[in-house]
Subunit: 334 residues, 2 copies
Amino acid sequence: MSVTVVSTETSVIEEQLAAAREAIASRPLISRVVLTACGGSYAVMLPAEYFFGTAARKLEAVALNAAEFTSRASSRVDAETLVILCSHSGTTPETVEAAELARSQGALTVAFTHELGSPLARASEYVIGYEHGPEKSESYVAPALLLRLIARVLDDRENAEFVTPVDQAIVALQSLAPAARAAHADAADTWGFSHRREQLIYTMAAGSNYGTAYSFAICLLQEMQWVHSAAIHAGEYFHGPFEITDTDVPFIALLGLDETRPVEQRAVDFLVKHSDRALVIDAQSFGLERVAPLVRGLIAHLLFNVVLRTYADALADHRGHPLSVRRYMWRMEY
Amino acid sequence: MSVTVVSTETSVIEEQLAAAREAIASRPLISRVVLTACGGSYAVMLPAEYFFGTAARKLEAVALNAAEFTSRASSRVDAETLVILCSHSGTTPETVEAAELARSQGALTVAFTHELGSPLARASEYVIGYEHGPEKSESYVAPALLLRLIARVLDDRENAEFVTPVDQAIVALQSLAPAARAAHADAADTWGFSHRREQLIYTMAAGSNYGTAYSFAICLLQEMQWVHSAAIHAGEYFHGPFEITDTDVPFIALLGLDETRPVEQRAVDFLVKHSDRALVIDAQSFGLERVAPLVRGLIAHLLFNVVLRTYADALADHRGHPLSVRRYMWRMEY
């Protein structure tokens, strides 16, 4: 089964995805995957690393910030390496440099970007242009397309059977996402109002949802709201961070559907007992019963992304601080 | 060259290190290394992952929180896998469980712990007991012994030449550590006093020093001081977190000596321009000129650990909040 093509533009994306798949399949020597980007795009790589880390039988995968990747300049970035990159504008210098380095060392490069004519697109051998903005389809956002690519790589390379359930799940997002958004609208508004004076809000998750918690902490809260934050890994919580839990310390904790749910659940159980300011979002409410159990956990983060954006919008509204405001980015050289 | 044996106890440690080395060498099929632990011990694994990630030509290495590792239950944890674990008391349930899982799947298990009779020691095939406390030698702390083990693995498996310079550097720590501690004593006291009312202090680093920044954030600040914190990766700083930089937001930023120093330097340059509360600690002041250039960068984090402890002690003193105080740990079941 393939994703229904709804416009010329998505047919182009399907062709790009197919071309990248074919290029990867034509290089049987590839034994490792490096997922590299910066900031919010790096966060997109984290559930992808989890997908490989739990499902791959042979392929090794690592996610690295692009500046760290280029600095390391590992001798193992070679013809046996697939390097997957992402930059929304395609202009992130560290990510462009990572693509150039990877390509110069013989790695196969596949870039995700919203800008097909961008430096990253030009620096990479294969490009997948994803949708963005109010008119976008939830099936064609970067993290959805990345999961679809990985499903293809695992099916082709390791005789897995991910393509059908992943593609079906990603089609289902088109109705699940607006439903989840609507279901959380009132709660998000209440939360945004009650948190409008908070100077710090922690996020917490594990497994395939950690990237979403990380993205919310560094992009939505720190960058777009100037609210202090840190993404706490739920498995690390009891080994340090939990000591800052208090009745008045706000947290957003995610309960996903993957193998790490018990790890998240244990942290949430403690958190809600000791904090009056814990918001727990449970992916069991996302209607994912429609999706094959094999991939439910891998898909949930896409809905966390959607739902958490609703909370960020509400917070921004009640704080009178639009998500688009910056004090450094776009305002100076650095 | 080998580290000078100064007591029966260290001779036991040397024998344990040699036994682990031999066991790893006797399994030529090993192709991947998983470094797994929780909290402060997980932080010890991060520079080790960097060592493999920059220096290994074939061996793959990944660092994972132990609960995440066990949840993932990857089918690739098998006879081709070396699993290195660490728990100070050897009682951390998640780490013991990780050792048991790894061993049951045929992986070779090597544990670092201070307690040789502990559950982790019993669950693992090879154990390296490290020193701790006021009488410890800086050459026999967990992260030093871990670097020595990795140097041996890389020399044995990949014809590298790390053992001699790493061992020499780790002997040099015995004089470099007290010198660095003394050199920072006054600055630490001044910093501790001036930060005694701060409710949040960020840390920042990259590469082999990120683990130290992470450990300081989650163990020293969050756990032992109940001060909010987050370890910001210097390569991620400009992609979100830097927007919370302000004249009055405190940071501790590390400038190391490894391949990622330019990444750290760029972030520091911005930070000190926009914050009046930035403490920058530069490993160039640690006297590491005595150490072979090949391993200087890999060794610096051991001195950051020592120096930062001095800052934590001073902060605890001026806050009247001993580092040993907990509100949850050791006080309740969780």
